[in-house]
């Protein structure tokens, strides 16, 4: 029998990239919050530059994820297998502790990609099996929240469009911003400059990529030291703006947030009216029930969907908020591809720096170019970036070079410090055939079913990736590369960029939450994180899901009485 704790205004499941940011506006508004986190607090000493520990043994996943790794299959004709292809972590701050900290706003086109594509290219431009819809919000709706997040976590960059005024040194394809980035961009390097010069010669518009890493001292934290080993790893200099060093300490300072670490949530509980009453969790072998007026589910896409599907009750026999059958649907594994290139005779010194220290190119992203006759909508951005790893480099030789022996060694000796790297990140659509559900055959060590990913590679995604790959090859060659390899699309398995599963929308028949993250079927259940996003833009998702989380938190505050069915926050704050 669970030990029943004192009721609180809000309980959060997870304190990662989404809830870890949302707790700041909530706590400042006076809400009493219990933040449940399956991991603990980490410190700079936890982040050594050790590739075996971080990248190969995935120390970051030991706190929880390594036992919960979902299974994956490309389609429902095959048996799902367990193959860890991404690292996620449970800790205060979550996976934003070890992410690469590229911090992008998505193009305005992303939010209206269905209607915009139909208007420009006709109804057949959307694949018949895609469940793509427009978002229930626009870029303009989200802009103030992008702004708040960039200020709160600290983002470095160079604006290309401030209220319509363009700066060609920044990203002119970006949606209009109301002000400059909080900090100048991370330092350019010899390699990023080499790429930028080549992009300009091609008539493209290179710019320094945006990063949630301090480029200068700010907010009590020092700047990036460019020492590398940043991903998957935390920053020993606290330069990365993860919520555990930015928003969460500020929320704690209000005295309205209590963090409970090592708390693993097993169920979200409901009453007969279908309202969430709180959550059950296990900590130190003991089971607790934490009652709350509002439950915030923010445990990363995979665990959030899994918890809903596991939280079955008489009112919700298929899982919580799932009488519509929509939980797990519209899942998107982000299509991203890595490329490498040899620049003979040049020492690139890419063992230094950090991945978001990069030259970005957005010319081939979103609808920034004419797609007539191409057979796909959307595009992808490319970032040619710093930060290489010794073991990773040794495993990444180009086709035609032997994998071992004297020729392999000779290649490494001549070229290991001359290998350039880049990443293409593509718009990715939802499809009927791509979904998350509970695996009937595989369980975690506690006997609980694992989540199963069903996600393949669709024709539009293959064409889009190939189009962007050819552009990236062109860029590398222009910059002086002798050989370029990689970049081919494959079906996304377990990924850190996992979108959908509880998507937002105005129609309860085709979505799980409304435009403010509240479950259609459970009015006091707020879902935050990548699972509520509708489509995947052509860059990293974190800043967008953080902006959506902040917007949803503000909506909750402004409508507290009707959503929570409890007294106003101001009164609660005074009473507390």
């Amino acid at each position: 029998m669970a030990i029943k704790l004192q009721k609180t205004d809000i309980v959060t499941i997870g304190l990662g990239g989404a809830a870890g940011v949302a707790v700041l506006p909530l706590a400042e508004a006076g809400a009493k919050i219990i933040g449940l986190e399956a991991g603990g607090w980490l410190a700079p000493a936890d982040f050594p530059s050790d590739e075996v520990r971080n990248n190969i043994l995935t120390w970051m996943g030991n706190s929880k994820f390594n036992r919960d790794v979902p299974t994956w299959r490309p389609n429902d004709k095959t048996k799902a297998v367990r193959r860890r292809t991404g690292t996620l972590m449970s800790a205060v701050g979550g996976s934003t502790i070890h992410y690469g900290a590229q911090s992008w706003r998505w193009a305005p086109w992303v939010f209206t990609s269905r209607s915009s594509s139909i208007a420009r290219y006709g109804p057949n431009s959307i694949p018949a099996n895609s469940t793509l819809t427009d978002w229930p919000l626009t870029y303009a709706d989200l802009e103030p929240y992008y702004d708040k997040v960039e200020d709160a976590v600290g983002v470095s960059g160079l604006a290309g469009n401030i209220s319509g005024k363009l700066n060609p040194a920044g990203n002119t394809f970006e949606g209009p911003r109301t002000r400059e980035y909080p900090m100048p961009p991370l330092r350019s390097s010899g390699y990023t400059q080499l790429i930028a010069d080549a992009a300009k010669r091609l008539g493209w518009n290179p710019f320094p990529g945006p990063s949630a890493i301090n480029s200068v001292p700010r907010d009590g934290r020092g700047p990036c030291q460019y020492h590398g080993f940043c991903q998957p790893n935390g920053c020993p200099h606290n330069a990365k703006g993860s919520p555990n060093v930015t928003t969460i300490p500020k929320a704690l300072a209000t005295k309205n947030l209590t963090v409970v670490t090592e708390a693993r949530v097993t169920r979200i509980e409901v009453d007969r009216e279908g309202r969430a009453t709180g959550v059950t969790y296990i900590r130190g072998g003991t089971e607790y029930f934490q009652p709350a007026s509002v439950v915030i589910l923010s445990a990363f896409t995979y665990e959030s969907v899994r918890l809903l599907l596991l939280s079955k009750s008489p009112g919700f026999p298929k899982g919580l908020a799932n009488n519509s059958g929509q939980v797990g649907k519209h899942y998107i594994g982000h299509l991203s591809t890595g490329l490498n290139a040899v620049f003979p005779g040049k020492k690139l010194n890419r063992f230094t720096g950090t991945v978001s220290q990069c030259t970005g190119v957005d010319n081939w992203n979103a609808d920034h170019f004419d797609h007539s006759g191409l057979g796909f909508i959307g595009g992808g951005n490319m970032t040619m970036r710093m930060e290489a790893y010794p073991i990773g480099t040794s495993r990444g030789v180009p086709p035609g070079v032997p994998r071992w022996g004297a020729a392999y060694k000779a290649f490494l000796k001549a070229n290991a410090n001359s290998i350039g790297g880049g990443y293409n990140q593509h718009d990715t659509l939802p499809y009927e055939e791509h979904y998350l559900d509970l695996d009937p055959d595989n369980r975690d060590p506690d006997g609980t079913p694992l989540l199963r990913i069903t996600c393949g590679l669709q024709e539009q995604e293959r064409l889009r990736a190939e189009f962007v790959r050819e552009k990236a090859v062109q860029l590398f060659k222009e910059a002086g590369a002798s050989v370029v390899w990689g970049g081919q699309a494959s079906a996304p398995g377990v990924t850190n960029h996992a979108i959908g599963g509880t998507r937002m929308g105005t129609d309860p028949a085709t979505s799980v939450v409304n435009g403010y993250g509240l479950a259609h079927e459970v009015p006091n259940l707020l879902i935050l994180g990548g699972s509520v996003l509708v489509s995947h833009g052509g860059s990293n998702p974190t800043e967008t899901l953080q902006a959506v989380a902040w917007r949803n938190a503000e909506h909750l505050v402004n409508n507290w009485r009707s959503i929570s069915k409890s007294s106003s926050l101001r009164a609660v704050s005074k009473a507390g």
Binding site: D50, N62, G190, Q225, N349, W404, G405, A406, K409, A416
Partner: protein
Amino acid sequence: MKKPDQSQERGFSRRDLFKRASVIGIAAAGSAALIPPLASEAAAPQIQQLHAVETLTAQQFGTLSAITGRIIPTDESGPGAIEAHAANYIDKALNSHYSYQKDNYTANLAAMDAYSKATHGANFVELPPEKQDAVLTAMESNTVGKSFGFAPDARTFFNLVLEHTQEGMFSDPYYGGNANFIGWDLLDFPGVKLEFTEQEQQLNFPIVKAHRSAYSYNMFKERKQ
């Protein structure tokens, strides 16, 4: 219900990691600008790194060592996996983070000798380099027969040893390989530092080799409680 300790389960505990870091020799050089070296760090003695075979038998270790020596050979371009003690990395790992693969190694190393004897008339370690390469090539292409005891097959074991040899060559020397930073020097990787300057990030800038393990920095050594 008790939450299992994942690090223990994987045989890779933080405590072990820090404990062992202190006994492995470190050629301390250079300094970290952000975190000034303490007196003890600046004066770190140049201890000769010692190697013991912890897990495998001498026979097994000899075979493994010879494999790594063919994957990254010693030649006119410089020292290879033998001098870097890549096999010691694997041997130690089979007693720690790869302990679950120990039986896999012992079975497949025996299969390699069985195949080498049947095909070339001697154990793997006794074959000349070109015959050793022929055995490894046959394993890589999975053209060895099924009767020698490879499990699940020769190619899978070859790929595993290749990966582990790369780890032994290019990982932090804390783990027992990459002796004298031979692997990092081969790649022109300067060693772990806590900062790189703007100048060091320019093209063709010759970064001075730090030749340091992550665990040579005080901030990553075991914290005083």
